[in-house]
Symmetry: C2
Subunit: 289 residues, 2 copies
């Protein structure tokens, strides 16, 4: 099928960070024929995005955006800002303009945005791609190629088909998921591991103080890989943890249960039980490769 | 200085696994002029080690080993077997033969081995190198090159100097450490991260059951790296956790405290507190790169 990115003619990317920037440069590289507009409250980011050719035109004021040319808005700011942005742009949207996002939290937020943006259509999106880096200057061409994108679609129509085609033409594998299930799944596979990585580094800081030795001088096998994601953006992750609080707390509680199960088996020297936990985890992990 | 590997003429490697095998192939590759003997209770492993040319001669029975030619014994079996091995080989050792090991746990074990092997000298060793793979067939040439080796030396003498030179000539950076401090340090930087990785995968198995969804189909950014070490050997790690029980439990308890600190900040939406934890961890982690 022709690579038409769902037939959108004008895309406005709100938030010129790593993800927004990567959408822009990937669209350009893959031959998107429409216009790409960028918006950010930070003028430096807008200038940078224009300078590197990611966007055709950039704005820091919604009233200056040529809304009549825009049929797709992609919100790619921290999730915390979404409802304010939706409220701010609502009055400018023309009838057929579709709004989507690339945030890591869905659930209630999707329902709120649907409500605020009515009669315009909002579809939640979450590309499972990223790096620890931030900013449009670190934008990666084809960041989404071969990666999953979750869309919170509950019924297929003209809009959802266009948005699916948009992501397919960026090389992504589209998967439709209920927004609440999305939050459970990504709390488990992404938010929890980040919380764990941050806490593990925090523990090593505390333990270093305890014995007055710099434990970070002894990064054992796997330790660097293991804590790499602890270098992720604190502001982004603070917001994700709080926005997806219910599921994040649930997965942390389950994880602490698992840690205590292993801890007790070690304390009681229950070798069989310990082996079972380790074998089961190992087998499941190996199945990923 | 000449690469003489401390002047040892005959090395016996007990335990032809990944580490023992890698010492053998690295010695060969770097021009060790002495003989390399291998011992393993498993005849297949011995045959494999001879077949790939890792060892000059292999044995499954201590009484057949040419002990008169051996001045260095390296125990590279699971830590659990160390005291039995020391007891078994004691009667064969000639006066000047030095015994060392490559185990991940030191502490009391070093004291026990020193006691058992008297009047021969035992020095605990721990090369900070490895892969998730097992067996002599996965031996890696120069596995120890550029890596740290911890030696539990409390005073310098002829023996310790020879052993230090042995490792230096394998390319390692020798660091002397008290055996109890060693166990604290590696509980924190290695044993705890392994416990966490196993528990994280265990949590995802439990959560998959809870919602009847296969969460392993959604390995988010960093998840694979993060849980890679959960594919490590269950028997090896069961033994390490139990052998280093005191420090492992202590570091797990500290880690659960850290997780609960983060959990509470999320629950109470204490944004500043949460940000502080994340920033501090991020900064410390970035300092590793």
């Amino acid at each position: 099928m022709e690579r038409d990115f769902g037939g959108f003619k004008g895309v406005l990317i709100i938030g010129l960070g790593l993800i927004g920037g990567s959408i822009a440069v990937s669209l350009k590289k893959r031959g998107f024929k429409g216009k790409i507009y960028g918006f950010d409250l930070n003028l430096d980011r807008v200038n940078k995005a224009v300078e590197i050719g990611a966007v055709d035109k950039g704005f820091t004021d919604y009233s200056e955006v040529p809304w009549e040319n825009i049929d797709l808005v992609i919100i790619s700011t921290p999730v915390k800002t979404f409802t304010k942005i939706a409220t701010d742009i609502k009055k400018y949207l023309k009838g057929k303009t579709l709004v989507t996002d690339v945030g890591s939290v869905k659930g209630d937020l999707v329902k709120q945005l649907e409500e605020i943006l009515k009669p315009n259509i909002f579809i939640g999106g979450h590309p499972i791609a990223g790096t620890e880096k931030e900013g449009v200057e670190n934008a990666v061409v084809d960041l989404f190629n071969g990666k999953k994108v979750i869309l919170t679609i509950d019924h297929e129509d003209e809009f959802t088909q266009k948005l699916e085609k948009f992501w397919v033409d960026l090389g992504s594998k589209v998967e439709v998921m209920d927004p609440y299930l999305h939050d459970f799944v990504f709390a488990a596979v992404s938010h929890l591991p980040h919380a764990v990585a941050f806490s593990l580094v925090d523990t090593l800081i505390e333990l270093s103080d305890e014995k007055n030795i710099d434990l970070f001088l002894y990064p054992g096998a796997g330790f660097k890989d293991f804590t790499r994601i602890a270098a992720s953006s604190p502001t982004v992750w603070k917001d994700i943890f709080i926005q997806n609080k219910k599921e994040v707390l649930h997965t942390i509680d389950k994880f602490i249960e698992s840690m205590n199960k292993l801890r007790d088996a070690v304390e009681k020297e229950e070798e069989e039980k310990l082996l079972n936990i380790l074998y089961e985890s190992r087998e499941r992990r190996l199945s990923l490769d």
